[in-house]
Amino acid sequence: MNNENIHDLAASYALDALDDLERASFERHLSECDRCREEVAGFSETAAAIASGESRVPPPELRSVVLGQAAVNPQLPPSVPVQVRQGRRWAVRATLIGAVAAALLAFAAGVLWGPYLTSSETEKQLVAIAGEPDARLVPVAMQVPGRANLLVSANEGAGVFVADRLEQAPDDKVYQLWDMAPSGEVAPMTTFRPDAGGSATVEFRADLADTAAVAVTFEPQGGSQQPTSDPIAVGALTEA
Protein backbone atom coordinates (compact mmCIF):
# COMPACT_ATOMS: atom_id res chain seq x y z
CA MET A 1 0.00 0.00 0.00
CA ASN A 2 1.17 3.45 -0.83
CA ASN A 3 1.65 5.89 1.98
CA GLU A 4 0.50 8.77 -0.25
CA ASN A 5 -3.05 7.56 -0.38
CA ILE A 6 -3.35 5.90 3.00
CA HIS A 7 -5.41 8.93 4.06
CA ASP A 8 -8.07 7.88 1.57
CA LEU A 9 -8.75 4.64 3.40
CA ALA A 10 -10.79 6.07 6.27
CA ALA A 11 -14.14 5.27 4.61
CA SER A 12 -13.09 1.74 3.70
CA TYR A 13 -11.79 1.25 7.23
CA ALA A 14 -15.06 2.40 8.80
CA LEU A 15 -16.94 -0.03 6.55
CA ASP A 16 -14.52 -2.87 7.44
CA ALA A 17 -13.63 -3.08 3.76
CA LEU A 18 -9.90 -3.46 4.37
CA ASP A 19 -8.21 -6.84 4.51
CA ASP A 20 -6.37 -7.82 7.70
CA LEU A 21 -3.01 -6.42 6.68
CA GLU A 22 -4.44 -3.16 5.38
CA ARG A 23 -6.49 -2.84 8.55
CA ALA A 24 -3.44 -3.33 10.76
CA SER A 25 -1.37 -0.81 8.84
CA PHE A 26 -4.18 1.72 8.73
CA GLU A 27 -4.65 1.38 12.49
CA ARG A 28 -0.98 2.09 12.90
CA HIS A 29 -1.41 5.14 10.69
CA LEU A 30 -4.46 6.22 12.70
CA SER A 31 -2.37 6.49 15.84
CA GLU A 32 -0.38 9.25 14.15
CA CYS A 33 -2.94 11.04 11.98
CA ASP A 34 -5.49 13.32 13.62
CA ARG A 35 -7.24 14.00 10.34
CA CYS A 36 -7.86 10.33 9.65
CA ARG A 37 -9.03 9.75 13.23
CA GLU A 38 -11.62 12.50 12.79
CA GLU A 39 -12.69 11.11 9.43
CA VAL A 40 -13.02 7.61 10.83
CA ALA A 41 -15.17 8.96 13.67
CA GLY A 42 -17.54 10.62 11.19
CA PHE A 43 -17.65 7.61 8.89
CA SER A 44 -18.22 5.24 11.82
CA GLU A 45 -21.25 7.28 12.86
CA THR A 46 -22.45 7.08 9.27
CA ALA A 47 -21.93 3.32 9.16
CA ALA A 48 -23.80 3.01 12.47
CA ALA A 49 -26.68 4.92 10.90
CA ILE A 50 -26.73 2.46 7.98
CA ALA A 51 -26.89 -0.34 10.53
CA SER A 52 -29.82 1.34 12.31
CA GLY A 53 -31.68 1.16 9.02
CA GLU A 54 -31.36 -2.63 9.24
CA SER A 55 -32.60 -3.08 12.82
CA ARG A 56 -34.06 -6.52 13.59
CA VAL A 57 -35.15 -7.38 17.10
CA PRO A 58 -33.32 -10.51 18.26
CA PRO A 59 -35.27 -13.45 19.73
CA PRO A 60 -36.38 -12.67 23.31
CA GLU A 61 -34.42 -15.57 24.86
CA LEU A 62 -31.16 -13.93 23.75
CA ARG A 63 -31.71 -11.15 26.28
CA SER A 64 -31.49 -13.51 29.26
CA VAL A 65 -28.45 -15.23 27.76
CA VAL A 66 -26.70 -11.86 27.43
CA LEU A 67 -27.65 -10.69 30.92
CA GLY A 68 -26.56 -14.05 32.26
CA GLN A 69 -23.12 -13.54 30.69
CA ALA A 70 -22.84 -10.21 32.47
CA ALA A 71 -23.60 -11.90 35.78
CA VAL A 72 -20.69 -14.33 35.49
CA ASN A 73 -18.05 -12.35 33.58
CA PRO A 74 -15.87 -9.77 35.30
CA GLN A 75 -15.32 -6.37 33.72
CA LEU A 76 -11.98 -4.99 32.62
CA PRO A 77 -10.60 -1.88 34.30
CA PRO A 78 -10.38 1.33 32.25
CA SER A 79 -6.62 1.27 31.73
CA VAL A 80 -3.55 -0.86 32.23
CA PRO A 81 -2.83 -1.26 35.95
CA VAL A 82 0.79 -0.56 36.81
CA GLN A 83 1.15 -3.33 39.37
CA VAL A 84 -0.32 -6.79 39.57
CA ARG A 85 -2.66 -6.76 42.52
CA GLN A 86 -4.30 -9.67 44.26
CA GLY A 87 -7.62 -10.49 42.71
CA ARG A 88 -6.95 -8.37 39.67
CA ARG A 89 -4.53 -10.70 38.01
CA TRP A 90 -7.11 -11.78 35.48
CA ALA A 91 -7.51 -8.20 34.37
CA VAL A 92 -3.78 -7.71 33.94
CA ARG A 93 -3.57 -10.96 32.03
CA ALA A 94 -6.38 -9.93 29.74
CA THR A 95 -4.65 -6.61 29.19
CA LEU A 96 -1.40 -8.35 28.38
CA ILE A 97 -3.11 -10.60 25.92
CA GLY A 98 -4.41 -7.42 24.32
CA ALA A 99 -0.92 -5.96 24.33
CA VAL A 100 0.52 -9.06 22.73
CA ALA A 101 -2.27 -9.09 20.17
CA ALA A 102 -1.45 -5.46 19.41
CA ALA A 103 2.23 -6.34 19.11
CA LEU A 104 1.43 -9.21 16.77
CA LEU A 105 -0.71 -6.87 14.69
CA ALA A 106 2.23 -4.51 14.60
CA PHE A 107 4.33 -7.39 13.27
CA ALA A 108 1.73 -7.99 10.60
CA ALA A 109 1.86 -4.31 9.75
CA GLY A 110 5.64 -4.57 9.65
CA VAL A 111 5.29 -6.90 6.69
CA LEU A 112 3.87 -3.99 4.74
CA TRP A 113 6.58 -1.66 5.88
CA GLY A 114 9.25 -3.74 4.29
CA PRO A 115 12.57 -5.03 5.39
CA TYR A 116 12.50 -4.29 9.10
CA LEU A 117 10.85 -7.51 10.15
CA THR A 118 10.96 -8.39 13.79
CA SER A 119 12.51 -11.79 14.24
CA SER A 120 10.14 -14.57 15.12
CA GLU A 121 12.44 -15.29 18.09
CA THR A 122 11.45 -11.96 19.61
CA GLU A 123 7.86 -12.73 18.85
CA LYS A 124 8.18 -16.08 20.64
CA GLN A 125 9.88 -14.36 23.56
CA LEU A 126 7.03 -11.85 23.78
CA VAL A 127 4.48 -14.62 23.90
CA ALA A 128 6.55 -16.60 26.44
CA ILE A 129 6.83 -13.59 28.75
CA ALA A 130 3.15 -12.70 28.43
CA GLY A 131 2.38 -16.29 29.44
CA GLU A 132 4.15 -15.96 32.81
CA PRO A 133 1.86 -15.34 35.79
CA ASP A 134 4.06 -12.46 36.99
CA ALA A 135 4.18 -10.72 33.61
CA ARG A 136 3.63 -6.97 33.75
CA LEU A 137 3.24 -4.21 31.25
CA VAL A 138 5.15 -1.13 32.43
CA PRO A 139 4.89 2.26 30.71
CA VAL A 140 8.19 3.99 29.95
CA ALA A 141 8.59 7.71 30.64
CA MET A 142 10.13 9.22 27.52
CA GLN A 143 12.26 12.37 27.37
CA VAL A 144 12.62 12.12 23.61
CA PRO A 145 9.88 11.63 20.99
CA GLY A 146 8.26 8.20 21.01
CA ARG A 147 6.13 5.89 23.10
CA ALA A 148 7.37 2.77 24.84
CA ASN A 149 6.31 0.00 27.15
CA LEU A 150 8.16 -2.79 28.86
CA LEU A 151 6.73 -6.26 29.11
CA VAL A 152 8.66 -7.96 31.91
CA SER A 153 8.61 -11.21 33.86
CA ALA A 154 11.00 -11.98 36.71
CA ASN A 155 10.04 -15.66 36.41
CA GLU A 156 11.24 -15.66 32.86
CA GLY A 157 14.22 -13.43 33.77
CA ALA A 158 13.47 -11.47 30.65
CA GLY A 159 11.62 -8.56 29.20
CA VAL A 160 10.77 -6.91 25.92
CA PHE A 161 11.06 -3.20 25.24
CA VAL A 162 8.39 -2.24 22.71
CA ALA A 163 8.47 1.26 21.25
CA ASP A 164 7.13 3.23 18.35
CA ARG A 165 7.39 6.76 16.95
CA LEU A 166 11.06 6.85 17.94
CA GLU A 167 13.47 9.08 16.08
CA GLN A 168 16.63 7.63 14.57
CA ALA A 169 19.60 7.84 16.93
CA PRO A 170 22.04 10.72 16.29
CA ASP A 171 24.93 10.00 13.91
CA ASP A 172 27.21 7.19 15.05
CA LYS A 173 24.97 6.47 18.03
CA VAL A 174 22.66 3.65 18.97
CA TYR A 175 19.99 3.26 21.62
CA GLN A 176 21.12 1.12 24.56
CA LEU A 177 19.10 -0.43 27.37
CA TRP A 178 20.40 -0.45 30.96
CA ASP A 179 19.42 -2.55 33.92
CA MET A 180 19.34 -0.27 37.01
CA ALA A 181 19.47 -1.69 40.54
CA PRO A 182 17.80 0.13 43.46
CA SER A 183 21.29 1.21 44.58
CA GLY A 184 21.84 3.01 41.30
CA GLU A 185 24.22 0.41 39.90
CA VAL A 186 23.78 -0.06 36.22
CA ALA A 187 24.46 -3.05 34.01
CA PRO A 188 24.64 -2.75 30.22
CA MET A 189 22.06 -4.52 28.09
CA THR A 190 21.20 -4.70 24.42
CA THR A 191 21.75 -1.93 21.88
CA PHE A 192 19.24 -1.32 19.11
CA ARG A 193 18.14 0.94 16.30
CA PRO A 194 14.48 1.64 15.58
CA ASP A 195 13.24 0.57 12.17
CA ALA A 196 12.46 3.05 9.41
CA GLY A 197 8.98 3.54 10.85
CA GLY A 198 10.40 4.41 14.31
CA SER A 199 9.39 1.10 15.88
CA ALA A 200 11.55 -1.19 17.98
CA THR A 201 10.89 -4.48 19.71
CA VAL A 202 13.93 -5.43 21.78
CA GLU A 203 14.19 -8.41 24.05
CA PHE A 204 16.57 -8.49 26.97
CA ARG A 205 17.51 -10.84 29.77
CA ALA A 206 17.97 -9.60 33.32
CA ASP A 207 17.47 -10.78 36.88
CA LEU A 208 14.46 -8.54 37.19
CA ALA A 209 13.89 -9.39 40.84
CA ASP A 210 16.68 -6.92 41.60
CA THR A 211 15.89 -4.33 38.94
CA ALA A 212 14.52 -0.94 39.90
CA ALA A 213 14.26 0.43 36.40
CA VAL A 214 15.18 -0.12 32.80
CA ALA A 215 16.79 2.99 31.33
CA VAL A 216 17.67 3.96 27.77
CA THR A 217 20.59 6.10 26.62
CA PHE A 218 22.26 7.02 23.35
CA GLU A 219 25.65 5.34 23.15
CA PRO A 220 28.42 5.08 20.56
CA GLN A 221 27.96 2.25 18.07
CA GLY A 222 28.59 -1.13 19.61
CA GLY A 223 27.29 0.05 22.95
CA SER A 224 29.04 0.97 26.18
CA GLN A 225 29.91 -0.83 29.37
CA GLN A 226 28.89 2.22 31.34
CA PRO A 227 26.57 4.99 30.25
CA THR A 228 28.19 7.94 28.51
CA SER A 229 25.06 10.08 28.44
CA ASP A 230 21.98 10.81 30.51
CA PRO A 231 18.95 8.56 30.21
CA ILE A 232 16.40 9.51 27.60
CA ALA A 233 13.76 7.06 28.78
CA VAL A 234 13.06 5.18 32.00
CA GLY A 235 10.64 2.42 32.83
CA ALA A 236 10.42 2.07 36.62
CA LEU A 237 9.69 -1.48 37.77
CA THR A 238 9.44 -0.68 41.47
CA GLU A 239 7.75 1.98 43.51
CA ALA A 240 9.93 5.05 43.95
Binding site: A10, S12, A49, S55, Q69, E185, A206, D207, A213, A240
Partner: protein, 232 residues
Protein backbone atom coordinates in the same frame (compact mmCIF):
# COMPACT_ATOMS: atom_id res chain seq x y z
CA UNK B 1 25.33 -5.79 20.38
CA UNK B 2 25.74 -6.76 24.02
CA UNK B 3 23.18 -9.00 25.60
CA UNK B 4 24.27 -10.31 28.97
CA UNK B 5 22.72 -13.50 30.19
CA UNK B 6 24.37 -13.12 33.57
CA UNK B 7 23.81 -9.91 35.35
CA UNK B 8 27.28 -8.48 35.70
CA UNK B 9 26.85 -5.27 37.58
CA UNK B 10 29.30 -2.65 36.50
CA UNK B 11 29.93 -0.34 39.33
CA UNK B 12 32.23 2.27 37.95
CA UNK B 13 32.02 5.35 40.04
CA UNK B 14 32.10 7.57 36.97
CA UNK B 15 29.19 5.68 35.47
CA UNK B 16 27.18 5.95 38.62
CA UNK B 17 27.98 9.63 39.00
CA UNK B 18 26.78 10.27 35.50
CA UNK B 19 23.46 8.81 36.46
CA UNK B 20 23.31 10.13 40.00
CA UNK B 21 22.46 13.78 39.24
CA UNK B 22 19.60 12.64 37.06
CA UNK B 23 18.09 10.18 39.49
CA UNK B 24 15.60 12.76 40.67
CA UNK B 25 14.79 13.45 37.05
CA UNK B 26 14.64 9.73 36.45
CA UNK B 27 12.01 9.17 39.05
CA UNK B 28 9.97 12.28 38.60
CA UNK B 29 8.46 11.21 35.27
CA UNK B 30 7.53 7.97 36.98
CA UNK B 31 5.74 9.78 39.80
CA UNK B 32 4.04 11.94 37.23
CA UNK B 33 2.99 8.90 35.26
CA UNK B 34 1.47 7.29 38.32
CA UNK B 35 -0.65 10.35 38.86
CA UNK B 36 -1.80 10.23 35.29
CA UNK B 37 -2.75 6.58 35.54
CA UNK B 38 -4.58 7.27 38.80
CA UNK B 39 -6.70 9.81 36.97
CA UNK B 40 -7.37 7.35 34.18
CA UNK B 41 -8.41 4.69 36.65
CA UNK B 42 -10.95 6.96 38.30
CA UNK B 43 -14.32 5.51 37.35
CA UNK B 44 -15.94 8.94 37.70
CA UNK B 45 -14.42 10.09 34.43
CA UNK B 46 -16.29 7.42 32.53
CA UNK B 47 -19.37 7.52 34.72
CA UNK B 48 -20.23 11.10 33.90
CA UNK B 49 -23.58 11.08 32.15
CA UNK B 50 -23.57 12.65 28.76
CA UNK B 51 -26.78 14.64 28.25
CA UNK B 52 -26.69 14.37 24.46
CA UNK B 53 -25.87 10.67 24.34
CA UNK B 54 -28.30 8.54 26.38
CA UNK B 55 -26.61 5.37 25.12
CA UNK B 56 -23.31 6.81 26.33
CA UNK B 57 -24.86 7.39 29.75
CA UNK B 58 -26.06 3.78 29.90
CA UNK B 59 -22.64 2.60 28.80
CA UNK B 60 -20.98 4.72 31.50
CA UNK B 61 -23.25 3.19 34.14
CA UNK B 62 -22.51 -0.24 32.69
CA UNK B 63 -18.79 0.49 33.04
CA UNK B 64 -19.42 1.08 36.73
CA UNK B 65 -20.91 -2.42 37.00
CA UNK B 66 -24.60 -1.44 36.86
CA UNK B 67 -26.40 -4.50 35.44
CA UNK B 68 -29.75 -2.71 35.16
CA UNK B 69 -28.13 -0.10 32.96
CA UNK B 70 -26.60 -2.90 30.91
CA UNK B 71 -30.06 -4.46 30.48
CA UNK B 72 -31.43 -1.11 29.32
CA UNK B 73 -28.48 -0.68 27.00
CA UNK B 74 -29.29 -4.08 25.52
CA UNK B 75 -32.90 -3.06 25.00
CA UNK B 76 -31.87 0.09 23.16
CA UNK B 77 -29.15 -1.25 20.84
CA UNK B 78 -29.76 -5.01 20.51
CA UNK B 79 -31.96 -4.60 17.42
CA UNK B 80 -29.29 -2.58 15.60
CA UNK B 81 -26.55 -5.03 16.61
CA UNK B 82 -28.57 -8.09 15.68
CA UNK B 83 -29.90 -6.42 12.51
CA UNK B 84 -26.47 -5.63 11.08
CA UNK B 85 -25.12 -9.05 12.06
CA UNK B 86 -28.07 -10.68 10.32
CA UNK B 87 -27.68 -8.50 7.24
CA UNK B 88 -24.00 -9.41 6.90
CA UNK B 89 -24.21 -13.06 7.93
CA UNK B 90 -27.61 -13.99 6.45
CA UNK B 91 -27.92 -16.64 9.13
CA UNK B 92 -30.04 -16.23 12.28
CA UNK B 93 -27.82 -18.66 14.21
CA UNK B 94 -24.61 -16.79 13.34
CA UNK B 95 -26.29 -13.43 13.93
CA UNK B 96 -27.42 -14.44 17.41
CA UNK B 97 -23.95 -15.68 18.29
CA UNK B 98 -22.41 -12.42 17.13
CA UNK B 99 -24.99 -10.42 19.09
CA UNK B 100 -24.14 -12.43 22.18
CA UNK B 101 -20.39 -11.93 21.66
CA UNK B 102 -20.81 -8.22 21.09
CA UNK B 103 -22.74 -7.68 24.29
CA UNK B 104 -20.23 -9.71 26.26
CA UNK B 105 -17.53 -7.43 24.85
CA UNK B 106 -19.62 -4.35 25.66
CA UNK B 107 -19.95 -5.59 29.24
CA UNK B 108 -16.29 -6.46 29.75
CA UNK B 109 -14.87 -3.49 27.83
CA UNK B 110 -17.37 -0.78 28.82
CA UNK B 111 -14.71 1.06 30.82
CA UNK B 112 -12.44 1.19 27.78
CA UNK B 113 -14.91 3.20 25.74
CA UNK B 114 -13.49 6.65 24.99
CA UNK B 115 -16.18 9.09 24.04
CA UNK B 116 -13.67 11.38 22.39
CA UNK B 117 -13.42 8.76 19.66
CA UNK B 118 -17.13 8.72 18.78
CA UNK B 119 -20.61 7.99 20.11
CA UNK B 120 -21.32 4.97 22.27
CA UNK B 121 -23.74 3.73 19.65
CA UNK B 122 -21.10 3.86 16.91
CA UNK B 123 -18.63 2.10 19.24
CA UNK B 124 -21.02 -0.80 19.72
CA UNK B 125 -22.17 -1.00 16.09
CA UNK B 126 -18.57 -0.89 14.88
CA UNK B 127 -17.81 -3.82 17.15
CA UNK B 128 -20.83 -5.73 15.82
CA UNK B 129 -20.05 -5.08 12.18
CA UNK B 130 -16.38 -5.98 12.62
CA UNK B 131 -17.27 -9.29 14.24
CA UNK B 132 -19.89 -10.09 11.62
CA UNK B 133 -17.48 -9.30 8.78
CA UNK B 134 -14.63 -11.29 10.32
CA UNK B 135 -17.00 -14.21 10.69
CA UNK B 136 -18.47 -14.02 7.20
CA UNK B 137 -14.96 -13.84 5.75
CA UNK B 138 -13.76 -16.88 7.62
CA UNK B 139 -16.90 -18.79 6.66
CA UNK B 140 -16.40 -17.75 3.05
CA UNK B 141 -12.72 -18.68 3.13
CA UNK B 142 -13.58 -22.14 4.43
CA UNK B 143 -16.24 -22.67 1.79
CA UNK B 144 -15.66 -22.96 -1.89
CA UNK B 145 -15.10 -19.28 -2.34
CA UNK B 146 -16.90 -17.91 -5.33
CA UNK B 147 -17.23 -14.17 -5.29
CA UNK B 148 -20.28 -14.39 -7.52
CA UNK B 149 -22.09 -16.47 -4.91
CA UNK B 150 -21.47 -13.67 -2.43
CA UNK B 151 -22.84 -11.10 -4.83
CA UNK B 152 -26.07 -13.02 -5.24
CA UNK B 153 -26.57 -12.86 -1.49
CA UNK B 154 -27.12 -9.12 -1.56
CA UNK B 155 -30.85 -9.50 -2.28
CA UNK B 156 -32.69 -7.63 0.50
CA UNK B 157 -34.20 -9.45 3.43
CA UNK B 158 -37.97 -9.38 3.74
CA UNK B 159 -39.19 -6.42 5.74
CA UNK B 160 -40.10 -6.95 9.33
CA UNK B 161 -42.40 -4.78 11.38
CA UNK B 162 -40.22 -2.40 13.29
CA UNK B 163 -41.63 -2.20 16.74
CA UNK B 164 -41.15 1.46 17.50
CA UNK B 165 -42.11 4.56 15.60
CA UNK B 166 -38.70 5.98 16.31
CA UNK B 167 -36.92 3.03 14.79
CA UNK B 168 -39.19 3.08 11.75
CA UNK B 169 -38.45 6.77 11.32
CA UNK B 170 -34.69 6.17 11.52
CA UNK B 171 -34.91 3.34 9.00
CA UNK B 172 -36.87 5.50 6.59
CA UNK B 173 -34.40 8.35 6.97
CA UNK B 174 -31.38 6.12 6.28
CA UNK B 175 -33.02 4.38 3.35
CA UNK B 176 -33.99 7.73 1.87
CA UNK B 177 -30.41 8.95 2.22
CA UNK B 178 -29.11 5.72 0.64
CA UNK B 179 -31.57 6.22 -2.23
CA UNK B 180 -30.06 9.63 -2.98
CA UNK B 181 -26.62 8.10 -3.66
CA UNK B 182 -25.66 7.31 -7.21
CA UNK B 183 -26.43 3.71 -8.18
CA UNK B 184 -22.68 3.00 -8.39
CA UNK B 185 -21.94 4.46 -4.97
CA UNK B 186 -24.82 2.60 -3.35
CA UNK B 187 -23.71 -0.66 -4.89
CA UNK B 188 -20.15 -0.20 -3.66
CA UNK B 189 -21.33 0.63 -0.12
CA UNK B 190 -23.77 -2.28 -0.02
CA UNK B 191 -21.16 -4.76 -1.17
CA UNK B 192 -18.67 -3.62 1.41
CA UNK B 193 -20.94 -2.93 4.38
CA UNK B 194 -23.65 -5.54 3.91
CA UNK B 195 -21.70 -8.31 2.20
CA UNK B 196 -18.44 -7.85 4.07
CA UNK B 197 -16.41 -7.50 0.88
CA UNK B 198 -12.98 -5.89 0.99
CA UNK B 199 -12.59 -3.01 -1.43
CA UNK B 200 -10.56 -5.38 -3.60
CA UNK B 201 -13.46 -7.83 -3.70
CA UNK B 202 -15.85 -4.97 -4.42
CA UNK B 203 -13.67 -4.02 -7.40
CA UNK B 204 -13.72 -7.62 -8.69
CA UNK B 205 -17.45 -8.02 -8.13
CA UNK B 206 -18.40 -4.93 -10.11
CA UNK B 207 -15.47 -5.29 -12.49
CA UNK B 208 -13.79 -1.92 -12.03
CA UNK B 209 -10.19 -1.03 -11.09
CA UNK B 210 -9.43 -1.02 -7.35
CA UNK B 211 -8.93 2.75 -7.37
CA UNK B 212 -12.41 3.24 -8.80
CA UNK B 213 -13.96 1.01 -6.15
CA UNK B 214 -12.14 2.90 -3.40
CA UNK B 215 -13.31 6.22 -4.81
CA UNK B 216 -16.93 5.07 -5.02
CA UNK B 217 -16.81 3.84 -1.43
CA UNK B 218 -15.24 7.05 -0.23
CA UNK B 219 -17.48 9.41 -2.22
CA UNK B 220 -20.56 7.42 -1.23
CA UNK B 221 -19.66 7.61 2.44
CA UNK B 222 -18.94 11.35 2.27
CA UNK B 223 -22.29 11.96 0.60
CA UNK B 224 -24.16 9.74 3.03
CA UNK B 225 -22.43 11.37 5.99
CA UNK B 226 -23.50 14.78 4.72
CA UNK B 227 -27.04 13.63 3.88
CA UNK B 228 -27.48 12.19 7.36
CA UNK B 229 -26.02 15.29 8.96
CA UNK B 230 -23.47 13.29 10.93
CA UNK B 231 -21.29 15.60 12.99
CA UNK B 232 -17.71 15.52 11.75
Amino acid sequence: MTCEKERSRVRHLSGFLRFAPTVGGLWSPYVQRREVSAVRLKPVENAQPDPVDPIGALLAATAAGDRDAFAQLYDVVAAAVHGIALRVLRSPAHAEEVTQEVFLEVWTHAARYDRNRGSARAWIITMAHRRAVDRVRSVRASQDRAVSAGVREVAPLPDETAETVERRFEQRRVRAAMARLSEQQRRALELSYYSGFTHREVAEAIDVPLGTAKTRIRDGMIRLRDELGVAQ
